[in-house]
Amino acid sequence: MPTQYLFVFAQVHDEFRIPELLSVAELYGFDIKFSEDPKERDTSRPFMILELKSEEHARLLAGRCILIKYVCEFYARGTSYEEMHERNRLRKPQWEKYIADTSFKFMVTAFNHTIPQRRQRDVVEGFAYMDFQGKIDMKNPEITLACFEEYPDRRGTIREKIEGDGEFDEVWFGRLIDVELARPLAKKFDVKKRAYFGNTSMEAEMSLLMANQTLASPGKLVYDPFIGTGSMAYTTAYFGAFVFGSDIDGRQMRGKAKPPGIIRAAAQYGVANRIMDLCTFDVTQNPWRCGELFDAIVTDPPYGVRAGAKRLGRKNQRQPKEGPPPVHVERPDDQQYIPPTKPYELSELARDLILLARYMLKPRGRLVFFLPTVTEEYEEIDVQTMLCEGMEIVANSLQNFGSWGRRLITVRKITTEKYPPPTFDPAHAVTENADVHVPAHKDFREKYFQGFKKNGSIADSSAQEV
């Protein structure tokens, strides 16, 4: 019979919480039962009760989910201590096995509040009816009983430190199973402490969430076609996968010293030998011999704000001269000749990326990537119309920056059919997809630099005010 577990989450990246849980459960092959009541699935609260078949599954989730802070076997909850204790008494069959001689301690804590020490003691004494006979051991108890008080968010209000003490929304109680096992990885992968990084490196916590969406594990092969400084390579490799990276700009991957920057940073995390290889090429002119190579593709495509997306070719339609370029300029790195590049418009890039993933992924493989969107203009159809046959959306989580945001899109390949490699030809794609819907992320770069104003005139008038 499934047991209820109390999960306590970090209150960040709300929209990533459930996709992460589902991905980790899929990776290990078990099911999570969420509450039917949408209020119980509200990710703006730190608490959630999930039903799992075994405690082992709870541990697996805690071992891998970056957003989990605590996992407990759930005993009771209530809007008052009376209510919670009453329910906890009914749960005696679950905890009576600890009564006789199990060493224990209590942990009493609160969210959005600090409970004064004196009352913490009162709270613990309130559990006297459980009549635990084992010795109290504050250092190495066999079990820890955890009591959490949940207060409303009062940020921005001025109050005495303990004002409102006891006026919680709800109190939760259970036996602690694990304390943030995976969460400290965000510190381990801190970009500031990394041997090599760039100005567009992905922050550690997000790189880890992305790695979880790829279902990275030993023996898998993951590809990043815009690897840059390798942020996601380290986290996916840390979870055991081999990572292959390519980038149109080899300088991003290598940095100034030897060995290449990505290898230096990977070595710092002990995963250098899981970086399968790095390769300089434009993904729209790629040398892959065949498809169906990768278990996942994970990438943060450049979208033109800090680093512009580029592909080989010329911006204007000037006919290139026949034959090799006449002058070879010696450069300090190996790139004796730098071919011209042209901008790569975001909605084109996103659509090409999905076509590339359908060709390069094994069946059931996943594509995980960030898509920047304009908050006011975004519609769900923007993401739906990027898709092609054989690919389905698994998750779409927004990281909101106000007027714009970025969505972590997870797509799964649901076909076993073989498809040809994408042509990367904008003209071709338009005819294939006769749908004329223009996604809000089209020309994102231009919209960003116009401050997301609806039209030029508003931008002009605000400029005059300055």
Partner: protein, 123 residues
């Protein structure tokens, strides 16, 4: 870097170069051997993607003759160990890969091959 597994997956992609564009030939290859984690499941899963003759040829070009000319049917541990070594532990650090058809030279520097095409080579 440039392990033989990577070499086995890359073909010349210059404009119009569509036949006899694989495998690329190593030139002036400087090799390093580095231990990698052995994972039998990964090797078994990847074997169907490998062009066997190309792999054996590349290994021999680099002086490793441990693999048989014909891909064996029995994937015993001894064979997988050899395959593991050839695919994942031999790194070409410097040199180049040359297309057997159009003779395009893809230089390898610090273990990173430069597969960028020049303007006149893109389709």
């Amino acid at each position: 870097m440039v392990r033989l597994i990577t070499h086995n997956l890359l073909a010349c992609h210059a404009k119009g170069c569509t036949s006899n564009n694989f495998p690329l030939q190593f030139q002036d290859a400087a090799i390093e051997l580095r231990d990698a984690e052995f994972n039998a499941d990964f090797l078994r899963g990847f074997l169907p993607r490998i062009e066997w003759t190309a792999l054996v040829g590349a290994a021999r070009q680099l002086g490793d003759t441990s693999l048989p000319a014909e891909q064996p049917e029995m994937l015993d541990d001894e064979f997988l160990q050899k395959l593991h070594h050839v695919l994942l532990e031999v790194h070409v650090e410097e040199g180049a890969m040359v297309c057997p058809n159009c003779k395009h030279v893809y230089p390898i520097s610090n273990g990173i091959p430069n597969m960028l095409l020049a303007e006149h080579e893109i389709g």
